[in-house]
């Protein structure tokens, strides 16, 4: 049994608590309360500010809004799954297959691109893929294409860009969780005649679950809230919900509508993260470490 320590108000406690409270209350709690408040305000026919659900009604009545919302959510889940499929073999290779002396080097290679700004990475893809870009240049040179084709501004490229952007946040938790997997478990399973599929699904995946969950949460959240990649390589018809929020705030200057969208996005991301944690029986505080 653990003894509950009695709590005293001491000088160190006050010194540590004050800045933390200021930070969390002024920059996290109150702004989000204000977001909710603004989303419930609207103007009536006479131009007076009133409480109303009209911003949320507009969301459900205008198909373009909720279709974009659903699209963003579905694509984000898809990107999360694809990121996992791409990153898992790499994490397994680095931790379990490659000779130990290359491990550090590969890990450094894996991390390096992600220290570079997302903008630079997206810009790199634009140079590679656009009509006058590098890939088109080589393909037409080699005679594979007669005419350069525009590879930017479509959904496939956008999904690829999103997977690229968020790969690190899947790979790192996977590497750290696979490092703690004891090799002898796999050896034992192999001696007992298990095939690769069985080993993978019965040993590796269950062990890696905390890493998979934390990677998925971060990737999902980053994808859902991404503005740059859909905006720059997704093109005009690649509607992403953050673009709707931006348009309401900056272009139409309708802050109330924008707040409602923002709040809906926040609810969606919290719900999916909560569901993900519940389904896999993980705790947020454990997952982030």
């Amino acid at each position: 049994m653990t003894m509950k320590r009695r709590f005293h108000i001491t000088l160190p406690l006050i010194c540590f608590l004050t800045p933390v409270l200021l930070w969390l209350v002024l920059l996290i709690v109150l702004p989000h309360v204000d977001l909710l408040r603004m989303s419930l305000r609207a103007e009536d026919d006479y131009g007076n500010a009133i409480w109303s659900f009209s911003n949320y009604m507009a969301f459900f009545q205008e198909p373009i809004y909720w279709l974009t919302f659903v699209r963003t959510a579905v694509y984000s889940i898809m990107v999360t799954v694809m990121t996992f499929i791409v990153a898992m073999p790499v994490a397994f290779y680095i931790t379990k297959v490659v000779a130990p002396r290359f491990q550090g080097f590969l890990m450094m290679l894996l991390l390096m691109p992600f220290w570079v700004s997302e903008l630079v990475r997206v810009y790199g893809w634009m140079i590679l893929l656009r009509e006058s870009g590098v890939i088109n240049h080589f393909l037409t040179r080699m005679g594979i294409l007669n005419q350069p084709i525009e590879m930017l501004y479509n959904d496939v490229t956008m999904v690829m860009g999103l997977v690229y952007t968020s790969m690190l946040f899947m790979a790192v938790p996977l590497v750290s969780v696979l490092e703690s997997l004891d090799d002898s478990l796999i050896e034992a399973a192999c001696d007992l005649g298990a095939n690769m599929g069985t080993i993978f699904f019965r040993i590796v995946i269950p062990h890696a679950m905390p890493g998979i969950v934390s990677g998925s949460i971060v990737v999902f959240m980053l994808t859902l809230g991404n503005y740059l990649t859909p905006n720059m390589i997704g093109g005009k018809n690649a509607l992403w919900f953050t673009e709707q929020i931006y348009n309401q705030f900056i272009a139409s200057f309708n802050w109330n509508q924008g707040s409602a969208f923002g709040f809906l996005l926040l609810v969606l991301s919290s719900l999916v993260i909560w569901a993900g944690l519940k389904l896999t029986r993980q705790k947020l505080s454990r997952v982030v470490q």
Binding site: R5, F7, T10, L11, P12, L13, F16, L17, P19, V20, W23, L24, I28, P31, H32, L35, V86, P89, V90, Y93, K96, A99, L109, P113, W115, V116, S117, E118, V120, R121, Y123, G124, M126, I127, S132, V134, H137, Y164, M167, I186, E187, C190, M196, V218, M221, G225, Y227, L228, M232, T242, I245, F249, I250, G262, L265, S269, S270, L284, S285, V288
Partner: protein, 284 residues
């Protein structure tokens, strides 16, 4: 399957091929960006017209290199200043938070801990608009009720600093907490027995122990702030940071000057990463 077991040659080769492709995919955009910063052409496209440094150094009417491009240089300076203040703020508050959650006891501790983690799962765009709204509300309140105009509450430099600080402080807290957890508290008790007070113990002993984590967290905080786009987008005004400025330029068509900036960013961050890695290796 793993290195200690016999593996078929086909398995190993196909695995190596996959890893090779993965790293090609990872580095292709960066490599191409760097190479095209040195191409003697008005646009960042192929064909290769020969090597030039003019996109860094030229000051010609038709070609202004990065070192003479006032707008871009200014935005780099703004970003550096923002990152400096964000780093100072988030390291201070993040270290306080680490001490608070690791060494103090108080009611509602787990609730506050959960709140401290929440910026990790709030999309950056939402954080940006919430802080924009709240500062606007505060500004209106001060103006109508007290008759004071507070420039801090309008989009601009300090709002960008606060917006970035709001989530970077969480990362600092996590990094510093992880190290603080490994601290041997008998050292503190010994110092207390020898007559030091709590603050002397923290200053002379615990902070010395935490220094590598604090330096590492500061480096990450600086970089994250320097490169932040999503939160900054809503809080910025006329003095744009580098990512916002680059975004506006790329949207309106690109010149190899953007490649030149990207090249410097890639080289700079890679060096910083290597140094950081080297020092964290030495620690272990």
């Amino acid at each position: 399957m793993i290195r200690s077991l016999p593996n078929s040659r086909r398995y190993l080769y196909s695995y190596k091929l996959y890893i090779g492709l993965y790293f090609a995919f990872l580095f292709a955009p960066l490599l191409v960006t760097c190479v095209l910063a040195f191409n003697d052409s008005q646009f960042p496209y192929l064909p290769w017209n020969g090597f030039t440094l003019e996109w860094f150094t030229a000051d010609l009417p038709e070609r202004v290199g990065l070192f003479h491009d006032r707008m871009n240089l200014e935005s780099i300076w703004v970003s550096a200043q923002v990152a400096f203040f964000v780093t100072i703020l988030s390291v201070t508050v993040g270290t306080c938070a680490a001490f608070l959650f690791e060494q103090e006891e108080f009611p509602f501790k787990s609730a506050l801990y959960f709140l401290m983690l929440s910026p990790l799962v709030i999309p950056g765009v939402i954080l940006g608009i919430s802080i924009l709204l709240f500062s606007n509300t505060l500004g209106m309140f001060f103006e109508t009720h007290l008759g004071i105009d507070v420039p801090l509450f309008r989009p601009g430099f300090w709002l960008v600093v606060l917006g970035q600080f709001s989530f970077i402080a969480t990362l600092v807290t996590l990094v510093v907490s992880a190290r603080l957890r490994k601290f041997d508290r008998t050292l503190e008790e010994a110092a207390l027995n020898l007559g030091a007070n709590r603050f002397e113990v923290i200053w002379h002993i615990t902070l010395k122990f935490l220094r590598p984590a604090i330096v590492g967290a500061a480096a990450v905080a600086f970089l994250m702030s320097f490169e932040n786009f999503n939160t900054t987008l809503f809080l910025v005004s006329s003095d744009t940071t580098l990512p916002i400025n680059l975004y506006l330029q790329v949207r309106d068509g690109s010149t190899p000057v953007i490649n030149a900036i990207s090249f410097l960013l890639i080289v700079g961050t890679s060096l910083a990463a290597a140094v950081n890695l080297y020092f964290s290796r030495k620690q272990d």
